[in-house]
């Protein structure tokens, strides 16, 4: 039986290559929205925080998890909204 860590590291390696491929061709015009959009994705840590904040134990781990949910939510909600606001302004020349 191959340990789970190997699979996780495998996933890590593939995702990093995929990330490089996806971003290399993006034009400079979109660098700011791209960065803030990617930044919103990094708020994915909210998923990890959820499982820690919902244990029902009134211990340190639970409070840390709850704080992490709040902080990551700022990152996620703020990041996506601000990116959308920026992108809604990008327009092509008419005609």
């Amino acid at each position: 039986m191959i340990p789970a860590e190997i699979f996780l590291t495998f996933i890590l390696m593939l995702s990093i290559f995929l990330g490089f491929e996806l971003i290399t061709k993006v034009p400079a015009t979109l660098h700011t929205p791209l960065m803030s959009g990617a930044n919103a994705i990094s708020g994915i840590t909210v998923v990890g925080a959820i499982s820690l904040a919902g244990t029902g134990n009134q211990d340190l781990s639970n409070w840390l998890g709850a704080a992490a949910v709040a902080l990551a939510s700022i990152n996620v909600v703020g990041g996506y909204l601000v990116t959308d606001r920026m992108l809604s302004m990008f327009k092509k020349k008419e005609g």
């Binding site: 789970a4 996780l8 996933i11 890590l12 995702s15 990093i16 995929l18 490089f20 996806l22 971003i23 993006v26 034009p27 400079a28 015009t29 660098h31 700011t32 791209l34 960065m35 803030s36 959009g37 990617a38 930044n39 919103a40 994705i41 990094s42 708020g43 909210v46 998923v47 990890g48 959820i50 499982s51 820690l52 919902g54 244990t55 029902g56 781990s61 639970n62 840390l64 998890g65 709850a66 704080a67 992490a68 949910v69 709040a70 902080l71 939510s73 700022i74 996620v76 909600v77 703020g78 996506y80 909204l81 601000v82 959308d84 920026m86 809604s88 302004m89 327009k91 092509k92 008419e94």
Partner: protein, 450 residues
């Protein structure tokens, strides 16, 4: 149920990847962002289905508080202060990863888990305080210059040694929480120390690097809590941040190490003898030249953001176009305080994105340009980068406005630019200086036209 959750994570990862791909073209970018947000929603819902969750009240409270703060901030922020907003959001993401790593600590954890916990705390902590300092520098709450002091490298080396030492001790004695607190404290201090020696002009690089770190922190937290989607999404962000950092460095012809450690722009001004004299021009005379021009290129820099001049620039563009003049914008990759900063500001003012040309597209056309208007840009149009080997920015690709027939430079005063480097452009025969606030100068030109 567990299988369902894992499947949902796969869907969510696919949505992130597809969303990032669509973010690569202006026509589909907005849809891409929505798709990526949908991926986030799927992941969050899946996480809530986890049977280990028995108490929802703190989760909901966290969502409500965080969502309200993030939503309000995103709605109220001005486009000119976008770089510091992104830095701040990024810092919160880093802190969240630090807390997740910390909370994942259990007395029964294996060494592999302990190492990943340390990594998420370390990277998360550096991201958090580093982003706060970047925020302070960008919003000029603290001085935006590079802060260097004697023995800085020694102090930093000691901190790194301290982090390494306490990390090793923590992995050996996970029950002893003093090592944990030491790692947390030192990583927070380290985040401050790595960003303070970097000057404001280099912030585009720092922001993209910190963005990459926040992804890596999420990735490490994913290992700590055994969660695939954190690893996938975190490493996507980490890789994309590193690519952007590379693009920025290339645009300045400097290595990443040079940006991070040189304290560039800290005032090491060298004396270069510049020949020629400054030739000011009045708004009225500038109008006559523009009125006769058939091809105009506008090169904006951070000064345009400071003066909030993007809307009057758009107005001037329209007037010139009605007059039969072709107008293009030349955007340097590191103009402004974050990559693509100028594009966002001009988009806010309704300038269509196909009118914004990248450096490599505008430079060959420059010989046919009658008037190049430089608005609040300095180093990115400095011909010394091409001509003078002794210049600190020698070798950096610049926009060659000096090949245009006439150059107008809109500038507040003769004070030197952010990097403190003399700009021979101002002394060239075909350069005219239009002194004053950029917004007022352009407003004056608009009044002359109408």
């Amino acid at each position: 149920m567990d299988l369902l959750i894992q499947f949902a994570y796969i869907v969510s990862a696919a949505l992130f990847i597809f969303g990032l791909k669509q973010l690569g073209s202006p026509a589909t970018a907005r849809r891409g962002n929505t798709i990526s947000a949908l991926g986030m929603l799927v992941a969050v819902v899946a996480a809530l289905l986890d049977q280990g969750i028995v108490d929802f009240q703190w989760i909901v409270l966290g969502f409500v508080v965080g969502g309200a703060i993030g939503g309000a901030a995103a709605r109220m922020v001005q486009m000119t202060s976008m770089p510091e907003m992104v830095a701040l959001f990024n810092g919160f993401g880093g802190l969240a990863s630090l807390l997740v790593g910390w909370a994942a600590l259990s007395p029964t954890a294996e060494t592999f888990t302990l190492v990943t916990i340390i990594l998420s705390i370390l990277i998360g902590g550096v991201t958090f305080t580093g982003s706060l300092i970047a925020y302070g520098k960008l919003s000029e709450t603290i001085g935006s210059g590079a802060l260097l002091f004697r023995g800085q490298q020694v102090v930093n080396s000691l901190i790194v040694l301290g982090i390494l030492g306490s990390s090793v001790m923590f992995c050996m004695e996970p029950g002893n929480s003093q090592w944990l607190y030491l790692v947390i404290g030192l990583s927070l201090v380290f985040g401050v120390m790595v960003v303070i020696p970097i000057g404001g002009a280099d912030m585009p690089v720092v922001i993209s690097l910190l963005n990459s770190y926040s992804g890596l922190a999420a990735c490490a937290a994913g290992f700590a809590v055994d969660n695939n989607i954190l690893i996938v999404a975190g490493s996507l962000v980490g890789a994309s941040g590193i690519i952007l950092t590379q693009i920025m460095c290339k645009a300045m012809n400097r290595s990443l190490g040079n940006v991070l450690f040189s304290g560039f722009g800290s005032g090491k001004v060298e004396e270069t003898s510049v020949e020629g004299e400054i030739k000011p021009i009045s708004v009225e005379d500038a109008y006559y030249v523009l009125e006769a021009a058939s091809n105009v290129a506008i090169v904006p820099g951070y000064g345009m953001a400071v003066a909030q001049a993007q809307h009057v620039v758009k107005e001037l563009t329209e007037l010139l176009e009605q007059n039969g003049t072709e107008v293009n914008f030349g955007i340097h990759p590191v103009a402004g305080r974050m990559p693509g900063h100028m594009n966002v500001l001009l988009a806010e003012a309704d300038v269509p994105y196909d009118q914004l040309l990248e450096m490599d597209d505008i430079n060959p056309r420059m010989v046919n340009v009658d008037v190049a208007i430089v608005i609040g840009a300095n180093d990115v149009v400095n011909p010394a980068a091409r001509e003078s080997e002794s210049s600190p920015i020698y070798g950096m690709p610049v926009i060659n406005v000096d090949s245009a027939r006439t150059v107008f430079v809109l500038k507040r005063s003769m004070a030197s630019g952010f990097a403190g480097i003399e700009n021979p452009l101002f002394y060239k025969d075909n350069t005219r200086m239009l002194f004053g606030d950029a917004k007022e100068s352009i407003g004056g030109l608009i009044r002359e036209f109408s």
